[in-house]
Assembly symmetry: C2
Homo-oligomer: 531 residues x 2
């Protein structure tokens, strides 16, 4: 059973160590657990549907509630507090492209707003239901999960767009292949959702971001179906795939997608490293990213995240031993930065690459501490979102924000985001625990992934007020520095105000025009991405 | 001095071996040299300019003639025969972005059509001047060639868009860097031209196509300047860079471009291989492309191209020895397919990659014949276009066409293109010599690069009629097979009729809308890419 007001399956919990909670108490004060609104009370708020019956849709309150939100912090505040106000009038569950067309026809007949729904994991408000005089229909693709075709000769797989990450990989691995796209939401997020929000997987350094994996497919728009042919490369004018990528439901519904697949690599291993300071770590990451090596991922935590992760993991004895070892190597544990580096490929090439990578790391005083830390990360990589449930129950809110920027700006921006959220929280006489890592590393720059923990407010409104202040303070710093407002989560509602800074006035006009052309009645996910 | 009616510098010629000419005579009959129209006669046709004087532009007949064409076969026929009918009324030579804006203002005041001009190497009619009541202005970027900024810390270079390939690489190499973009037109084509036509360099397997190298810049449109920020990656909605890439002057003029650069690789070597049959070669290329190896390029010639290249090279003794060696290894020289494979990177990783690549090649019965053939290719890589001058003077026309398609269709499409052009030429009771290679190889498919030689017609009109028949027959096969109408040359006028098959009706409407938004007066390169 899915948690009705949190992340993931009810039977799964991710406990946090006592030491971790003590650290948070020291950092921001004792947690203030709030009161959860019971499910029955929420469902009682779901009013009568304004839509007529149809064999492809449900008007049940439970369906309408579960499709009324994603997993953003505002969504959580609303779910936990029972303050969600708007629900779709019905949820459609088509099982074929033809049925999607039928649903789109129904939507037109009933002048609905349509919100395409994949796995429900959006963290930026893609799924929020606007208050509208028009009825709202959630168009869920969760019953469209088939592998339609695997072309081994061309290394191509075509899937229905509603397939979830775990299910997609299971289908491919049974046939000896992998897509290799692993966002943290992998358990629930879907192929179609990845495409229309420009998702990035944890091992994108090797496998590519979804924009490099998505090669074609079909999008059903109110103006007809757009077929994107699968081509190895093309110089035939602008690339329309790149409009569908990131379209966030505004142009139409992606029903199937062709992706590049590959046989499972011979070697795929993640190693831990420690750098004596942040600057040493950054210099190593920069050089490794430009060295054309067979690496699958790189990640560098700042000193605060390094300490936080060690505290939350609860491995006190190991942590002590590690710190002793680092001291022996002349590294101050207070300044130490943990890194993860993944090596991937055919054995000989991967080993030669690893040897080159280690020599670069050592040049920057990196200490390679073996596979244990990488293996532990691999085990927990999709469990981290469950930690949010646990912390919330202890009275703490954890949230993240992310951007990407060229190397010349990385360290300054990281620091100014940290400062901005700390100041914003100080405005409420509250403290915040902020920690950061570089998660996706490129030759020209890096993404910055900042997490922060603060105390729940006395009521949902107060918690939301804190979120808004933090989000706005950080977003302004990002825009000022010329970073992207989102490296991997999409725009939705939460980043919408900051999009014009990235796209410029003419760029915004172009996007508005494209959306208007595909959706003349402004039916599709209105209010997300663009006004 | 640039040849007034052919390719490249007058002082450079690329001779063809006697054996090569004999082979062509056997294949298609004796050449029929035509009569070239002298320059003076052409310039006499350049009428009075309809545009007023301006300090940034020239109305000289010679400038107006050289900017009235590119290097497509129809352009050649017109240049050689002196049948060019339309010339720009003036050529503008801005030296800064501000001057480009001034020229655009002048164009608006005088209601001009504007044709942006880079290196003049288009092979699909991008630069052709339409017959129009409105005066036509060629906007040349050839005086905007500066390296504006090299950011070593972020591996980024920002150039003015008019910089030619050779000049760009020279500026970067002086500072220890390379872009690594080497299309065959490298001597003359420009960065801006590469971007707006989605160019692909010969070593794109390592360095990336221009769409992967181009990270941002500025485009001056009639509706204002579009600034594309440089970001390592972004999930903030559709990617507008991907509209500028391939825009072919229809949205505006790209004035500067930021590109990803890298230090020169430790190892960069091209090797020759021979496969006993086409199918062995294809299987090897396919497997190599999916093996994530440090390769810079792969190229596979079919048996006819293999023989043609050996004959044209004139190395008769070496060719004989090679054939003896191949026979010894059980390979029939009639069926042999030559391949080139480039290995690149840091020494240890490149060597491990080479070892893995050779074992894959050998599994498919490939015979590695060392570096000589690769070195010879490297020496001549930018000289091949000069061969067109030589063959023309012997009465032969050589032209090429290209596409890309997924692996399952590669061999069939190659054969059907071959058949279609052969049949089309038979319709004129003429023969054609057709040979093909796969030039850019991807995990999911390959580009197909078909060259053909036929005899000049008795007059320009007859030669053009032959070209049209060939082009249309081949293009129809490409569209039927679901290939792209162009992998690396762009659309221009010659591929325009086939674009809707690739983009679909809604896709075409989107492109039309975007162009109309940026250029409401339909001023910019009208008639190219789209109607």
């Amino acid at each position: 059973m899915i948690r009705y007001n949190g992340w993931g399956d009810e039977s799964v919990t991710m406990e946090t160590a006592k030491k971790g909670l003590e650290m948070l108490k020291d950092a921001v004060g004792p947690g203030q657990p709030g009161e959860d609104c019971p499910l029955a009370k929420i469902l009682a708020k779901v009013g009568a549907s304004r839509l007529p019956e149809h064999s492809l849709l449900s008007r049940e309150p439970m369906d309408r509630y579960t499709h009324a939100h994603g997993q953003s912090l505002p969504d959580w505040i609303a779910m936990r507090g029972g303050t969600l106000e708007n629900f779709p009038d019905a949820v459609a569950y088509p099982t074929t492209s033809q049925e999607v067309e039928d649903v789109m026809e129904y939507a037109q007949e009933n002048d609905c707003l349509v919100i395409p729904y994949g796995g429900g994991t959006s963290v930026v408000g893609h799924l929020n239901v606007p208050k509208s005089d028009r009825p709202v229909l959630s168009l869920s693709l969760e019953r469209m999960t088939r592998l339609i075709d695997l072309d081994r000769y061309s290394s191509l797989a075509n899937f229905e767009a509603g397939v979830r990450g775990v299910d997609l990989e299971a289908q491919l691995r049974a046939l000896g292949y992998t897509l290799g796209h692993y966002p943290q939401s992998f358990e629930y997020s879907t192929l179609g959702g990845w495409v229309v929000t420009r998702s990035s997987g944890q091992q994108s350094m090797h496998f590519g971001r979804i924009d490099q994996l998505f090669l074609g497919g079909e999008m059903i728009t109110p103006r007809g179906t757009m077929k994107l042919p699968v081509l190895p490369a093309s110089a035939a004018g602008p690339d329309l795939r790149q409009l569908v990528l990131g379209s966030e439901g505004r142009m139409g519904v992606l029903t199937n997608a062709s992706v590049k697949v590959q046989p499972l690599p011979e070697m795929d291993q993640v190693y831990g490293m420690i750098f004596p300071t942040w600057n040493h770590g950054v210099d190593a990451m920069r050089e490794l990213a430009s060295a054309s090596l067979p690496l699958s991922m790189m990640r560098l935590s700042n000193p605060k995240e390094t300490k936080t992760n060690l505290a939350l993991s609860g491995h006190e004895t190991q942590t002590k031993l590690l710190n002793q070892y680092l001291s022996m190597r002349g590294i101050d544990p207070e300044k130490a930065c943990m890194a993860l580096v993944g090596v991937i490929g055919s054995k000989k090439v991967a080993r030669a690459g690893r040897s080159k990578a280690w020599s670069i790391a050592k040049k920057h005083r990196g200490v390679i501490i073996g596979k244990a830390m990488g293996e532990s990360w691999e085990k927990k990589r999709f469990l981290i979102p469950y930690l949010r449930n646990t912390l919330w129950e202890h009275g703490y809110v954890v949230d993240t924000l992310e951007t990407a920027v060229t190397w010349d700006k990385v360290t300054n921006l990281l620091q100014s985001i940290d400062g901005a959220v700390t100041d914003a929280m100080a405005g409420f006489d509250e403290k915040i625990h902020v920690f950061t890592h570089l998660s996706h590393i490129y030759p020209i720059g890096s993404s910055i992934y900042t997490s922060y923990v603060f105390r729940l407010g006395e009521n949902p409104a107060q918690t939301y007020e804190r979120f808004l202040a933090l989000k706005s303070a950080a977003s302004k710093e990002i825009v000022k520095a010329g970073g992207t407002i989102t490296h991997q989560h999409g725009v939705g509602t939460d980043h919408k105000a900051y999009l014009p800074a990235e796209k410029g006035p003419l760029g915004m006009e172009i996007l508005q025009d494209v959306v208007k052309l595909c959706d003349p009645d402004q039916r599709m996910n209105t209010g997300k991405l663009l006004d």
